[in-house]
Symmetry: C2
Subunit: 262 residues, 2 copies
């Protein structure tokens, strides 16, 4: 029987907003057994880029990453947010380890090929090259990995990686070893049929229902890649995927908040 592993993905707002941070860190520290955290940090990166006068351009929710922007996201994600989370979790009695995708060659990547859009220093992960052995050795020491969405290619070029993709990639890579519970935290109380009305939250969503809601236009734009990725992870061995608010983690994981995919 495999052991449980909670793999939680949060946005940068957890670090930026004190009230959410305290609730989330408390709930995360209380999760039993193996766990790990993947974080983003787009809003803090936007703020630093603005302060430095580096214009930012987003295409389909992805950041066009020139050399100056790469430096900004590496500093913000792997520096400020990662170390702030590690220190805050350690203070709650955990032993956490901050990592990026290039540390211990955890998540090797390649620069995204230039197609219709040149994303710059943005990486595609090499799923088959994930250093699962290293992560398992860390987890078996009851150390909690905290992962920033930065990696590098084989030439040593740092690359900006989508944090949802990192969470999904690691969840799949670890599914052979653990019963992986993948939790995507975002700024809505779950998947909604009407984004303006929180009471339209779908508690349990299966593929058939997802297909219908998508065809009918109730689920659209940014939720589609998120849900496609999430169902895809379940196809590849991830035990369960949950979506909801970081500050509701404790109720999320028992299925009393957010959306559980099934």
């Amino acid at each position: 029987m495999k052991e449980n592993l909670y793999l939680i993905k949060i946005g940068g707002n957890v670090v930026d907003r004190e009230s959410i941070q305290q609730t989330f860190l408390h709930d995360f520290a209380a999760l039993p057994g193996h766990k790990m955290l993947v974080h983003g940090g787009g809003k803090l990166a936007d703020a630093l880029a603005h302060q430095l006068g580096i214009p930012q351009q987003m295409v389909d929710g992805r950041r066009i990453t020139d050399a100056d922007t790469l430096r900004v996201v590496t500093m913000v994600y792997a520096g400020w947010i990662n170390k702030s989370l590690v220190a805050a979790l350690n203070a709650r009695g955990m032993l956490t380890l901050g990592l990026s995708g290039t540390d211990a060659q955890l998540i090797p990547a390649v620069k995204r090929p230039v197609g219709a859009i040149d994303y710059g220093f943005v990486g595609n992960v090499l799923e088959e090259a994930v250093n699962t052995d290293f992560l398992v050795r860390i987890l078996e020491q009851h150390i909690v990995p905290v992962i920033a969405p930065i990696s590098a290619d084989a030439s040593g070029q740092l690359l900006n990686i989508n944090a949802d993709t990192i969470a999904r990639t690691l969840a799949i890579a670890l599914a052979g070893q653990y019963r992986v519970q993948l939790v995507y935290c975002f700024d809505q109380p779950g998947v909604l049929t009407d984004v303006s009305r929180p009471e339209t939250r779908i508690a349990r969503l299966d593929r058939a229902q997802y297909g219908q809601l998508r065809a009918g236009g109730s689920i659209h734009s940014g939720m589609i890649p998120k849900l496609d990725n999430a169902f895809g992870a379940m196809d590849r061995g991830v035990d369960r995927v949950l979506l909801g608010r970081a500050e509701e983690l404790a109720t999320l994981i028992v299925g009393a908040a957010g959306t559980t995919l099934c």
Copy 2:
């Protein structure tokens, strides 16, 4: 018989100056056996602070670290410099792991008490609390730690730590397990009796000679704490201490450049 461990401390100039970086990374990658790297990054931190309009104040070579400066040094040291080094070394065929002092509670610290000077968010390391077991497990996997001079206290407050002190602390902590070769790289070809003349380099320096040169004023200011620390490390089990230029690492370690303490 203990195995050898090279513990190399470099300044931020190694990352900032391409010519030094290539030579140093080549030589570091070629070092046989266990090795680790501790880096600073003061000049890049100065540059970012200047860009952001955050005034910097140094007292006896130590940075007064207010909240804004703490964010700058955490981003620059643990973010940009640390991940750039990790990616560049991985590209040379090594398996490196970037760490700060708060990761895996490697180097617990306390905020420096306010005395005549309030250094702000600057930490004193708790030598007896170093997580040596974690480091040894990493080194025994032939993974190379790359360490940024940032840590945290028990409350989760991030702290700015002197990189020379981190190198010395880890060298002493690991001296029970390894024959530690501690190499301090700086911007001179070694200890000089006249800092304006590189040809006055002292190839081998013992305590008696150090005492004389210090009393005579030939060794002064920033070199005194550096050498006091270095001889102190040898008193506490470190096998050998070398000082010299990062771009001369290959000749340094065979004693053909720099200064060897004895």
